[in-house]
Structure formats: structure tokens, C-alpha cells
């Protein structure tokens, strides 16, 4: 290519501009830091809600507008993050979108689910609800758990783009109306364990033999599916240890989130529950101690009666303690408000306490909230927050009076599905605008409209990942009964960043639960390796730091799940680096 051609090209562009009247992007477009590339990237396949065929189908339709989920991992190890996206229709295919950036140089995906053997996740007895990548056998290849109303499916990654259903061999073939799953190594034996949250109790909701399977209360329901814990036996199988580890719940679980709340080296658990109290479990693991959990809800967050839907952990205020963001319902008819649980650190009894600072930080009201994810979209070193919302966007009539008519009926048995009014074509908290909360240093300002992220589709899960490895975090949003969004981050590259992929040796291979503390520009930032937190979604397990204008990083400390600590002086910035547990030097990600 020569200079003349370049000039010619530019000249032609000017001529075309004059002829077509096309102008330079308007100021508002120039200020927009996210670009909707859903169609161009080849990931625009619509999600479809499940339609039931039973006597309660019309009623269930309104309460099962779920199942739009997304999970991120580089399943083939080519250095670029791929996507698994669910559908929920009876004959709907799930999608494994391979990221073709390595070959195309642009963010484009090819759906390889059929070839890989992971497309068939829906049938008359099962509906996809969520998905989770986890390397349960520590072979370096992310395996895939398909979370379903019905029977979950565990796909073993065989390499070469192929997967094998190993659910039965793994001991996971069991009826659960599961809606969420996370993986972390609660007992720090070097293998990730599975925590599954179930919404309905384990009865066949596709062919229910009783009408009494709906929530018994709007505020204290305990007839849901609860939480099930599977311990990884290190031989490709799992054992149910729910009772043994002290997690006894029967609420309507919507999300699970793990994080080390007290910085004691093991991960604690937040359970977000619909129709009742969220739960907080402290991990009792100590040297020589047992790997059990204690329910410290009262002491840490208190008893609530809200509709918890999302449990996302992150240090939003950069004080070195992980905080938790939980969505609830805030609308004209129900003003619950979200929780932003600020971690106050351990109190005198040893466990941490949290204060809800959603109101004062400006993150309290996001409508009928679903997924909410922390991510630093402008790399200024402060975790921002994207929240999606909206329950059912249908016709102009509101469903609210119908449901409230039921609520105020004396003696109504809420557990009986027959008492619930069908939603029909009515809307309930529909057409709500999504929120992008820009972190201004501990308080937030909604910038969704500015960046074109204020869609009104019924959002569910959000996956944060850097699909072109440029250090700017992108978003994939799974919407219920609608096409998803892939938002490419095109923010100005004025701020620096650092990114790390961790590989455990004594620790679990994916280093889930590792904490990283990076010092740069006079501040130390805490991030951690996330094992699937956030409703209906899994973000990247890579760890990114925004550095602001700091042109170098001074120090990186890695606290591995095994307990090993490693310190790296002057880690490289503005590129992705791989760190292997126990190795002194980090290497660029290939």
C-alpha cells in the first residue's frame, strides 16, 4: 500500500461525505463509549421463554420469563474469550459462540454448539436457565455446566472443540429446578466445588402433580428449591455435602455469589433469595478446622423481606474489602430498593458487618432489577456498575392490580398456583431502562443513556469480558424473549490498564477465589478471580485493573486459593499477562 493510495482514499471519503451529506459523528455519538455490535458480531439469535403445557401454563408463563443467560470462557485456549448463550424454548438450541478474533481481527463469532455437542439443552422436561464454565478436573480446559429447570448437564471439554455429557458419571444427574450455579474451592483442596441455587422445589414443574408449588409468601417463603452444595471428589465425581457443610435453605434462590468477605483466605457465600430473606454464610475453614459454613445473616446483613436477584462482589470503594451488590424491586408499586452492601470489615466477633449504602451511592433504584455487574469501563481504577432490569414488557395494561387483588384476598393460599391470576398480555415492570452507574469515587452517576446502554428489553444476565484483548471491558447482555446485546467498549484509550490470567497449581487450575492487589499511582486496588457471580451470567475469570493515568504499576500481590502469596515488582501494564502459581515470572498471554 502506498501513500498515494492512502491520500486518495481519504480524498474519496471527503467527496463521499460531501455528496451524501454524512457528517462527522455528532457530539453525542463521539461521547458514546459503547458500540452495539450484536448483529455484526453474529450473536443476535433471540432468546425465547419456555411455554408450559400443563393446567397451570397460563399462570406459570408470567413467573418463568427466565432462562436468558450467558457465560464467558476461552474454551479452546486460543487466547480469546468465547460465549455460551442459552435459549429456553422447548426446541430451542443453545449457542456456543466461538470468538474468531484471532483469524478475522474483528469481534465476530461463529456458533459451533452443534459441532461441539452442547446445543441440545432444551426439551419437554428441561429448560435452560443458566450456564457456568468450570474446570472441574483441572486439565486446563473449561468444562460446561448447563443449569436447568429439570436436570442439569455437565459437559466435559475433551479438547479439539468437542464436549461430552458426563452428568451421570459425575453424580450430578438429579432433578433440580436450578437457576444459578457458581464454582469455588470452599475447602481449599485445590479443586472447585459446585454451589447450585434452585428456584422451585424439586418437583416436576413441567408436569406438576399438585398445584401447590408457588411461593407460600411474598416475604418469607421457604418452599423453594434452596441451595445444593456438591463437593468435588477429585476423580471426576461430585458428592452432595449440603447438610454436611451447614447450608440448610429452602428459599427461592435466584443467585449465589462468593467472595472473601473477611480477607481470611477462604470464600464466603451470599445467597440472593426471591420472596424472602437473603442469606450470608461465613466459611469456617481455618487451619486444622472443618470446611463448614455458618449462617450469619442476622449479624452481617440483617433480615430482609425483599426479592434478592443478584449477588455480585467487588471492592467498589477501593478500601480493600469486597462489597456486594444485590438487586431488588423498585417500582411505583413496590419500593424495595437495591442493596449495595458496603463491607465494614470484621467486627469484634470476627465476622464482617455490612451497611447498605445503595441510597447514598445512587444505586438504589433500578426498577425490577436482575443482573448487575461491577466492571471498570473507563479504566480509571474505580469499579463501575451495569444493571439490567424489566420483568415482562408486553401490552399496555398493567398486571399489578391483578396480583394485588390476590394479595389482599383474606386467607389466600399463595402456594396454590391456581390462586395466581394469569398475566396474559399484560406488562409488569416492563420497558425499563438499564443503568450504567459510573463510579465517581465511591458515588455513582447513571451514564447509560450517554453510552447507548439504556435499552428497554427485559434484561437478565450480563457477562463482562474483553473480547478483543484491548484492555477495555465489553458487555454481553442476555435478554428474556428477545435478542441479546453485545456492546463493544470503544472508550478513548487515555487510561492505562493491567490484565492477568491466573493458572493454579496447588490451587484449583482456574485460581477461582484468588485475590490480586495491584499498587499503582499511589493506590492499591483489590480484585479477585470470580467463579460465576451475578444473575444468569458468568463474566471473565481474567482479572483487569484500570490504572487511570498511572504509566506504570509498582507491585502486584497474588494471594492464591492455596494460601501461597506471590509478589511481583513492576508488573507489565497495557497487556494481558499469564501468571502460573509458584513461577517467579509472568508471561504475556499467547
Amino acid at each position: 500500500m502506498n501513500a498515494g493510495r492512502l491520500v486518495g482514499g481519504a480524498g474519496m471519503a471527503l467527496v463521499l461525505t460531501a455528496l451524501t451529506g454524512a457528517a462527522a459523528p455528532a457530539a453525542s455519538e463521539r461521547d458514546r463509549w459503547f458500540e452495539d455490535i450484536t448483529v455484526r458480531a453474529g450473536v443476535a439469535r433471540k432468546h425465547t421463554n419456555r411455554v408450559f403445557h400443563n393446567p397451570y401454563a397460563e399462570i406459570m408463563a408470567g413467573y418463568t420469563a427466565l432462562g436468558a443467560a450467558v457465560a464467558v470462557a476461552d474454551y479452546d485456549g486460543d487466547g480469546y474469550e468465547d460465549l455460551f448463550v442459552t435459549d429456553s424454548a422447548e426446541n430451542g438450541k443453545n449457542h456456543l459462540y466461538h470468538n474468531d478474533f484471532r483469524t478475522t481481527g474483528t469481534i465476530t463469532f461463529t456458533d459451533v454448539a452443534e459441532q461441539a455437542g452442547v446445543a441440545d439443552g432444551n426439551d419437554a422436561d428441561n429448560a435452560s436457565a443458566d450456564a457456568l464454565w468450570l474446570d472441574y478436573d483441572n486439565d486446563g480446559r473449561p468444562d460446561l455446566l448447563l443449569v436447568r429447570f429439570g436436570h442439569n448437564k455437565l459437559y466435559h471439554n475433551l479438547g479439539g472443540g468437542k464436549f461430552k455429557d458426563v452428568t451421570r458419571e459425575a453424580g450430578l444427574d438429579r432433578y433440580l429446578n436450578a437457576i444459578t450455579a457458581i464454582a469455588f474451592d470452599y475447602d481449599r483442596d485445590g479443586w472447585v466445588d459446585l454451589f447450585i441455587g434452585a428456584y422451585f422445589q424439586p418437583i416436576d414443574i413441567f408436569h406438576p402433580k399438585t398445584p401447590r408449588f408457588f411461593p407460600e409468601s411474598f416475604e418469607t417463603a421457604n418452599n423453594g428449591g434452596g441451595v445444593i452444595v456438591f463437593h468435588n471428589n477429585r476423580d471426576g465425581t461430585f458428592s452432595d455435602v449440603t447438610e454436611k457443610v451447614g447450608i440448610r435453605l429452602s428459599g427461592w434462590t435466584l443467585d449465589l455469589g462468593h467472595g472473601d468477605a473477611d480477607n481470611d483466605g477462604d470464600d464466603d457465600l451470599y445467597v440472593a433469595c426471591d420472596f424472602g430473606t437473603d442469606r450470608f454464610f461465613i466459611n469456617n475453614l481455618k487451619p486444622g478446622g472443618d470446611a463448614t459454613f455458618t449462617d450469619r445473616t442476622k449479624e452481617t446483613i440483617g433480615i430482609d423481606t425483599k426479592k434478592g436477584m443478584n449477588a455480585e462482589w467487588g471492592d467498589y470503594d477501593n478500601d480493600g474489602w469486597l462489597d456486594v451488590f444485590v438487586t431488588n424491586i423498585t417500582d411505583d408499586y413496590m419500593r424495595e430498593g437495591n442493596f449495595l452492601w458496603r463491607n465494614n470489615g470484621p467486627g469484634p466477633q470476627g465476622w464482617p458487618t455490612f451497611s447498605d449504602v445503595a441510597a447514598e451511592t445512587g444505586t438504589r433504584e433500578t426498577g425490577w432489577g436482575w443482573g448487575g455487574k461491577f466492571f471498570d469501563y473507563d479504566n480509571d481504577g474505580w469499579l463501575d456498575l451495569y444493571v439490567v432490569n424489566g420483568w415482562v414488557s408486553a401490552g399496555p395494561q398493567s398486571y399489578v392490580p391483578d396480583v394485588f387483588e390476590m394479595i389482599v384476598r383474606p386467607g389466600v393460599d399463595l402456594a396454590d398456583a391456581r390462586n395466581w391470576p394469569p398475566m396474559g398480555n399484560k406488562s409488569l415492570s416492563g420497558y425499563e431502562k438499564k443503568k450504567l452507574f459510573h463510579n465517581l469515587g465511591g458515588v455513582f452517576k447513571d451514564e447509560a443513556a450517554r453510552h447507548g446502554l439504556d435499552s428497554t428489553r427485559d434484561g437478565r444476565g450480563i457477562a463482562v469480558a474483553d473480547f478483543d484483548n484491548d484492555g477495555r471491558l465489553d458487555l454481553f447482555v442476555a435478554n428474556a424473549n428477545a435478542a441479546p446485546f453485545l456492546y463493544h467498549n470503544v472508550a478513548p484509550k487515555t487510561n492505562h490498564w493491567a490484565g492477568f490470567v491466573l493458572e493454579g497449581r496447588a490451587s484449583n487450575r482456574d485460581a477461582i477465589g484468588a485475590q490480586l492487589r495491584l499498587t499503582a499511582g499511589g493506590r492499591t486496588l483489590l480484585r479477585f478471580v470470580d467463579g460465576g457471580n451475578g444473575f444468569a451470567s458468568q463474566s471473565t475469570r481474567r482479572v483487569y485493573f484500570g490504572l487511570g493515568t498511572a504509566a506504570a504499576a509498582d507491585r502486584l500481590e497474588v494471594r492464591w486459593p492455596s494460601g501461597r502469596r506471590q509478589v511481583f515488582a513492576q508488573p507489565p501494564i497495557d497487556r494481558l499477562m499469564r501468571i502460573v502459581e509458584g513461577e517467579d515470572r509472568m508471561r504475556p498471554l499467547q
Partner: protein, 250 residues
């Protein structure tokens, strides 16, 4: 002495005794309150109210102690029995409704709706017995707390217009009447009658100079005013159901 005269004298004597019993129980209750022992005060208040179910003073002090002791369900159960025993007592029905309202901030969002709905039923019963300023203002104001989708604000406006009408006619207007002007304006605002809202607030301020609630509304416009009113009508905040200002007169 005729039989009729015996009956009348007996009834007067009964009232006197009942009044004395009520006053004595109320004194005991207030002693317990003064000592900070609100739970201990409750049975005394209940005895006082059982003897004098129409007393607004006893009821308001009782409910205040209930709030302090967080004994909401006890209070609701008590008034349920009281109105069963005294179905013609308009004030008992009114306070039965307030008992539900008092519990609202301590309840979850769905229970709040049930409580609010129950309170409206009791307020309506009180109005059936007596269309007083207090009952009309109370029910009218309650309607304004309901989300727009339920369409109850116009019902509130109707009640509040009647309450304001009573206030205008009272030869000895009480300062507490200002609240009905505030609420009626809020009702107009919620039903998108901005000019009428401002007019009624201005009238209220002329009648009750210096009223902070009226001034606060008149000092705001547009979204700021909407936000202010929404904040005032937040069901998560405790509604002032103290009736003592009404008893103080002025």
C-alpha cells in the same frame, strides 16, 4: 322515684365510674411511659380505652407506646375487639385503621399493601358513622400513598375536598386543618391538576401562615416538586398518626 329516673341515674353513675376507671388506667399507663416502659403501659392503655373507646387522647398515646414497643399485632388485635364491642364508636374504628398504618413502615413491601388496604376499610367504617374532618382527611390522605396504577388518588381528592370544606366552615379553625390543604394539593398534583394544587396550597397558606409543609410545596416546581411529594408519600417512612395536635385546638 320512677323506674325511668332510676335507670337514668344508674347510667350517669355508670358513666362516672367508667370515666374514673378510664382516667385512672390512663394515669397508670402514662406513668409507665414516663418511666420508659412502654410495654408495661399497654395493658393500662387498653383498660382505659375499653372504658372510653371514643377517646382520641387515650388511643393516640396507646398507639405511640405500641410503636415504641413494636407491638403492632397486639394493637391491631385490641382494636379489632374494641370495635366489635363498640361498633358505633367512630373514633375506635378510626384508630383501628391507624393501628394498621402504624405497622406499615415495619413491614415488607407486600405486607404494606395488605395493611394499607385493611386500614382503608376501617377508615371507611368510621366515615360511615361520622363524616368528620379527621376521618375524611385520614382516608383521603391514605389514598394518596397508593401507586398510580391503582387509580386511588381521585378517591383521595374527593375525601380531601370534603375535609377542606369542613375546615373552611369551622368557626374555630384548628391549626391541624392545614394538613388537609397540604394533602388536597398533593392529590391534585398526583392527578395532574397542577394549577388547582398551587391554588389550594396558597389558600392554605393564607389561612395558616407560616405552615412549613405548604411553604415547602409552593417553593418547588416541576420534577423537584414531584420528587418532594413522592418522598413525603413514601410508605417506608412512618406516617404521623399523632392525634394530639387535633386535641390541642388553636
Amino acid at each position: 322515684m320512677t323506674l325511668r329516673r332510676v335507670f337514668v341515674l344508674s347510667f350517669v353513675a355508670f358513666l362516672a365510674v367508667a370515666g374514673a376507671v378510664a382516667a385512672s388506667a390512663f394515669d397508670e399507663a402514662m406513668k409507665a411511659v414516663a418511666a420508659g416502659n412502654h410495654a408495661a403501659a399497654l395493658p393500662h392503655f387498653e383498660a382505659a380505652l375499653a372504658a372510653d373507646p371514643d377517646s382520641l387522647l387515650y388511643a393516640t398515646e396507646y398507639r405511640h407506646a405500641v410503636i415504641k414497643a413494636s407491638q403492632y399485632d397486639r394493637c391491631i388485635a385490641f382494636f379489632e375487639k374494641l370495635v366489635a364491642d363498640h361498633p358505633r364508636s367512630a373514633h375506635a374504628w378510626l384508630n383501628y385503621g391507624y393501628a394498621y398504618v402504624d405497622k406499615i413502615p415495619a413491614a415488607g413491601s407486600i405486607t404494606q399493601v395488605i395493611l394499607a388496604n385493611n386500614s382503608l376499610k376501617q377508615f371507611s367504617q368510621s366515615i360511615t358513622l361520622e363524616r368528620s374532618w379527621l376521618a375524611l382527611y385520614t382516608r383521603g390522605n391514605s389514598y394518596l400513598y397508593w401507586p398510580k396504577v391503582f387509580g386511588r388518588a381521585p378517591l383521595g381528592v374527593t375525601d380531601l375536598e370534603e375535609a377542606v370544606g369542613i375546615a373552611r366552615k369551622d368557626a374555630k379553625p384548628k391549626r391541624v386543618y392545614a394538613r388537609s390543604f397540604v394533602a388536597l394539593g398533593d392529590g391534585y398534583w398526583k392527578t395532574e391538576q397542577a394549577e388547582k394544587a398551587r391554588a389550594i396550597w396558597q389558600e392554605g397558606l393564607q389561612r395558616f401562615p407560616g405552615d412549613a409543609q405548604l411553604q415547602a410545596r409552593l417553593a418547588r416546581q416541576g420534577d423537584e416538586l414531584t420528587s418532594y411529594i413522592d418522598d413525603q408519600l413514601d410508605p417506608n417512612k412512618r406516617v404521623d398518626t399523632d392525634l394530639k395536635p387535633l386535641l390541642e385546638g388553636d
